[in-house]
């Protein structure tokens, strides 16, 4: 689907669900902007953004350039530590030492939800491919199954990003299992 269809689709979701979004490097930040503005912004829901691809600071910088209001975005940053990037304290960012610490990602998301969020939320995982680089498929499947099931029971919408260029059959199988819908954005 094209960008307009994608935006329309996002706005149509009314109940908590899990959606996988296949994107390419060329539309990576555009898609993120749509998710943060059209999806969560439209529903006025806080976002927990799990960054395993690039450091949260870099994403924040780009979002500022795009003019996206980042006041309702909390980051679980699991890449800055291993990239030796800055992990300076920020009220809206919690750091996980490594993307292999999948339980800790769940714990940090739970911490943010318990401390700052009442009601629904949007959880963005960026991306399943980055997590697949650092984890074997069995534990990654188990993680996504538990994480999605647990947080959906707490009224969370899940958006799992996957990079078209880095995908394979194993990743597709996992996403088929944990997603209610799979969207491909051109």
């Amino acid at each position: 689907m094209n960008k307009e269809e994608f935006q329309k689709k996002l706005k149509s979701y009314q109940e908590p669900l899990s959606v996988s979004v296949s994107i390419s490097l060329s539309n990576y930040f555009d898609v993120i902007k749509y998710i943060l503005e059209d999806f969560s912004g439209n529903k006025n829901l806080p976002i927990i953004y799990i960054s395993a691809t690039i450091p949260s600071k870099s994403i924040s910088t780009v979002l500022d350039v795009y003019g996206v209001d980042s006041k309702k975005i909390f980051f679980v940053d699991c890449i800055s530590h291993i990239m030796m990037s800055s992990t300076a304290y920020s009220e809206r960012t919690v750091f996980v030492e490594s993307p292999t610490m999948l339980e800790t990602i769940m714990l940090k998301a739970q911490y943010i939800l318990n401390k700052y969020v009442t009601g629904g939320s949007v959880i963005v995982i960026d991306s399943v491919n980055s997590l697949a680089i650092h984890n074997d498929m069995k534990i990654l499947s188990e993680f996504l199954h538990l994480f999605v099931t647990y947080l959906r029971s707490r009224g969370a919408y899940f958006v799992i990003l996957s990079m078209k260029e880095q995908s394979n059959d194993e990743i597709s199988n996992i996403l088929n299992f944990v997603s209610d819908e799979i969207l491909e954005v051109e």
Partner: protein, 180 residues
């Protein structure tokens, strides 16, 4: 149907869920694990939650002294006997008073069982084992309820995080690794 015993909430939501509603009132529970696994934090959190509910709590800190006792134990065998008798008397007295008690014990890597002297696990109605799990270079804090008289409970291993809003738990993913 099993008779439901009155519960004492630990205040740690996930642990109360694991225990089907909390520690059965009056139980003596051994919290055991190696250094840095969260034993003290868990005990303090238990007392703080109780205090917030208007309950009275007592924390007997013998950390420094017990280290010295342990060193002396090798030389003076009677210390061992004294400690055992003290724990037995304390456990019995607290149980008779209707107190739910957390006994905190440091577990040495070389220890067999769940306690240093053996008597702690013998007098305890419950055992909560805290540990460290090493997996691919990551060190995770873990928790397992080994036993708890008076309630059915999960015996699975959970990963624990100590946060500003208290202890949080999630199930351990089955990715291998051994408790250390």
């Amino acid at each position: 149907m099993d008779k439901v015993r009155e519960r004492c909430l630990t205040g740690i939501e996930a642990l109360d869920n694991i225990l089907n509603g909390g520690v059965p009132k009056g139980n003596t529970v051994l919290i055991t694990g190696s250094a840095g696994t969260g034993k003290t934090t868990m005990s303090i959190e238990f007392l703080v939650h109780g205090a917030m509910e208007g309950e009275k709590g007592l924390y007997i800190s013998v950390t420094e002294a017990s280290e010295k006792l342990l060193e002396n134990l090798i030389v003076y065998d009677f210390f061992s006997k004294e400690i055992m008798e003290f724990i037995l008397r304390l456990s019995k007295a607290l149980s008779e008073l209707g107190c739910t008690t957390f006994l905190v014990s440091e577990l040495l890597p070389s220890a067999k069982g769940y306690s240093q002297y053996g008597v702690e696990e013998a007098v305890s109605d419950g055992i909560i084992l805290l540990g460290n799990l090493e997996r691919k270079g990551d060190l995770l804090r873990t928790l397992r309820v080994v036993k708890m008289r008076g309630t059915s409970h999960s015996r699975a291993t959970y990963v624990l995080d100590i946060t500003s809003i208290g202890i949080l738990l999630v199930p351990l993913l089955k990715g291998g690794g051994e408790m250390v």
